[in-house]
């Protein structure tokens, strides 16, 4: 083409020396991955803290909270409860579930797993992180403005979210900051997605064909495609909402509204349903953005610690692709109660239940992978098994909610809260944990403590079931969600004990998460040093030092000779054959 273009294959790149270029404004995908991870770690504890306050309020609505627990001390109002709920949901969905599995682990691991020296566009990658950070700052600023955070939930349905201060505390500056913060997050997510897809498609090492890619890479690729196609829609919705709030337009605000006896006269004709369509066109793929990386990691780790190839590799890829594809056609199932035509509801219902098919294929293949394996029950494996368990439990209740006739009753009850927390929240968090225990040695060069890890797993596993299983019964009994206080509602009186049980379980489970933090920071300093390949795993990240050098492969390009899951190979020297091992060295099998 042009004479200036020439290969830079064997050229080694030197790490930047200054602290700021190395750790703050770094363009190294590994540092950026860790930055995302810490952003998510901070956010998950913030989000968890908010949920503790909510659980306490649900059980003791009149409690006088001490000032160390509640700013200013005293009793929490119902509006404050709703503000906590909004921020809990928003922070958990955007800053934890979207950020840690994809941007955190994906950033650190994906380039190494495909044999690349970095992401395709390292500067863009750095920009994605800092835009995400800005988004967290803007979102978090809602805590500190007059009126506090918005009360409209993470779904921000208009007209509540569109009308401004008149609609309630937090609906002024707080809601504006929310809309702007989420809009900024969309931009960061789009930039990140573009980088992930390009890197996966164009930067794979020689021999790393698509059918040899680890399932983790497939999951990150499909997740990035979902992000690319969905976050632009949320961005458009946020801009419309912002204009309704600040510029007097009426995209979402209908006419004839009366708020606390005051008619809203300067808006007419808008459609709150339009927001719901736009929001859920993003929102449903977002569920898969949260869970798909967990599926990839679980598949990867089940195979590694069952010492068996993934059962049905191609079926796994096809299942993830079709889950992603169908994910764009089911947004209406969030709107069965919103005045959707029964005909569209029927179509959305059928398509939603169709997702059960690839989901069942995945579960079947996970069990197939375990079947007859030499299973190693370390902490990472336990969390992967926990992921499968939670995926099944949370997924099954989805089949109930997918049917409009049942959803009419269940909608906006605790049944829905149980469903999405198990499938999207906790299952994805288990994906993050299994990845954390698995890749910590590669990321930081030391092993996490297995004993503390196992205690952490068992308390968390029992804890999340203790928290969320009873919520199904609350929902079946007709307990509405999002209510701050049900004192005096007679039919809910007998359920107080269930709420009490859930709150106690939540407090214990959340306390157990500090085991992870202690383990994390203790091991970071004093953990046992990790070897290059402590798990006897096959993929490329285990062919380099722990932690990997600045440019991953020392300026050399690895060559890949085989698929990602050659475990339990008969006649091989070990029971596994790494992807980068040349055929002559792989033992008699080749």
């Amino acid at each position: 083409m042009v004479a200036h273009d020439s290969g830079g294959g064997g050229h080694q790149h030197h790490p930047p020396s200054g602290f700021i270029r190395k750790w703050i404004f770094s363009v190294d995908h590994k540092v950026i991955g860790i930055q995302y991870y810490f952003l998510a770690l901070f956010s998950v504890f913030l989000g968890m803290g908010l949920s503790v306050l909510m659980r306490i309020h649900l059980v003791w609505p009149n409690a006088q909270l001490p000032s160390w627990l509640w700013p200013g001390g005293g009793q929490m109002t119902s509006e404050e409860y709703l503000a906590l709920m909004t921020m809990h949901g928003s922070i958990m969905v955007f800053m934890v579930l979207t950020t840690a599995p994809q941007s955190g682990f994906g950033n650190f691991i994906l380039p190494i797993q495909i044999g690349a020296a970095d992401m395709a566009f390292p500067v863009l990658n750095m920009l994605s992180f800092w835009v995400t950070f800005l988004s967290l700052m803007v979102l978090g600023a809602a805590f500190f403005v007059e009126g506090g955070p918005p009360i409209s939930g993470w779904t921000a349905y208009p007209p509540l979210s569109a009308l401004g201060e008149i609609a309630g505390p937090g609906q002024g500056a707080g809601q504006t900051l929310w809309v702007v913060g989420v809009g900024i997050f969309c931009i960061a997510a789009l930039l990140g997605a573009l980088n992930f897809i390009t890197t996966t498609l164009d930067l794979r090492a020689k021999g790393m064909t698509l059918s040899r890619m680890p399932l983790t890479v497939w999951a990150w690729l499909i997740t990035a495609i979902l992000s690319l196609l969905s976050f632009g829609v949320l961005l458009a919705a946020c801009i419309l909402l912002l204009l309704d709030r600040t510029a007097g337009t009426s995209f979402f605000i209908p006419g004839g509204l009366v708020l606390t006896d005051t008619p809203v006269t300067d808006h007419k004709g808008g459609s709150p349903l339009l927001w719901q369509h736009l929001f859920w066109f993003f929102g449903h793929p977002e569920v898969y953005i949260a869970i798909l990386p967990g599926m990839g990691v679980a598949s990867h780790i089940l195979s590694t610690f069952a010492r068996k190839p993934v059962f049905g590799y191609k079926a796994m890829v096809a299942a993830m692709s079709s889950i992603g594809f169908l994910g764009f056609m089911v947004w209406g199932h969030h709107m069965f109660m919103s005045g959707l035509s029964p005909y569209s509801a029927f179509a959305f219902s059928l398509l939603t239940m169709a997702i059960g098919v690839p989901s069942a294929i995945k579960t079947f293949n996970w069990l197939g992978t375990l079947w007859g394996g030499k299973i190693q029950f370390n902490t990472s494996m336990l969390f992967a098994l926990g992921f499968v368990s939670l995926f099944v439990t949370g997924g099954l209740s989805g089949l109930f909610l997918a049917q409009p006739s049942i959803d009419l009753y269940m909608h906006d009850t605790y049944f829905v809260v149980a469903h999405f927390h198990l499938i999207m929240g906790v299952a994805a968090i288990f994906g993050i944990f299994t990845a954390s225990y698995f890749w910590f040695p590669k990321m930081f060069g030391r092993m996490l403590n297995e004993t503390i890890g196992k205690i952490h797993f068992w308390i968390t596993f029992a804890g999340v079931y203790a928290i969320f299983m009873p919520m199904h019964f609350l929902g079946l009994a007709g307990h509405p969600r999002r209510y701050a206080d049900t004192t005096g509602v007679n039919y809910l009186g007998p359920l107080d004990e269930v709420h009490y049980f859930i709150t106690i379980a939540a407090l214990i489970t959340i306390a157990a998460q500090f085991l992870f933090v202690i383990n994390f920071f203790y091991s970071l300093k004093a953990g046992q040093k990790a070897s290059e390949n402590p798990w006897n795993a096959t993929t490329l990240e285990w062919s380099v030092a722990s932690p990997p050098p600045f440019d991953n492969f020392g300026g050399q390009e690895p060559v890949v000779y085989r698929g990602a899951y050659e475990y339990g190979v008969p006649d091989a020297a070990d029971d596994y054959v790494p992807q980068h091992l040349a055929p002559a060295k792989a033992g008699k099998a080749h």
Binding site: M1, D5, A193, D202, R204, T209, L228, L229, L240, S271
Partner: protein, 218 residues
Amino acid sequence: MPGTLTDDIEIIEAGHGRGGGVPAGGDDDGGDGGSGLPAIPRRAYFTAMQLGLAGIVMFFMALTSSFLVRKGLGTDWVAIALPPVLWFNSLVLLVSSATIQAAGRRLEAGDAQSFRYWWGLTIALGLLFLSGQVIAWRQLAAQGVFLSSNPDSSFFYLLTAAHGLHLAGGILALLYVAFRPWRRSRITQATAAALAGIYWHFMDGLWLFLLALLYLGR
């Protein structure tokens, strides 16, 4: 989306690894005079551009469906008369697509001076288009039609502003291509110009689509 994946599979298999395609990189001097970033294949830039455009398509499709849904609802839709200057603006943008194409061809032929002429002309036409859009806004405002007047005017201002911002980004990209010292880069100026050209043509096509929507859909 599986369809998209399949297409991509073929692209990858065709030019696998560094051996097949033309790798990019300013590392040929062997020192740190390059960008300091690892080399990547030239095609990665084109992949990224296509992906970026896919993201932009989704953004504008969301606004388009909002337009259609909002028009189908309510009784407050008042069709606004599009300012005639828009037709002139459209012509300017169409011509700029031709000039950027001419510029790219000159650069590939190694005629740097001629490239600069055509490239500069494209930037000027882009700025002329944006000025024309602002004139259209001012004409509407003079008639008392503002952003919040009615849903059609809201969408008119929103869509033209969203497109205008994207095009302004394109103008910045053109300036960047013209003035950046390309010796210290991972790609050549010709590659960057080709990428900017794709974006520019896309913005041209996008404008024609939005104009059709605003004209036929009002």
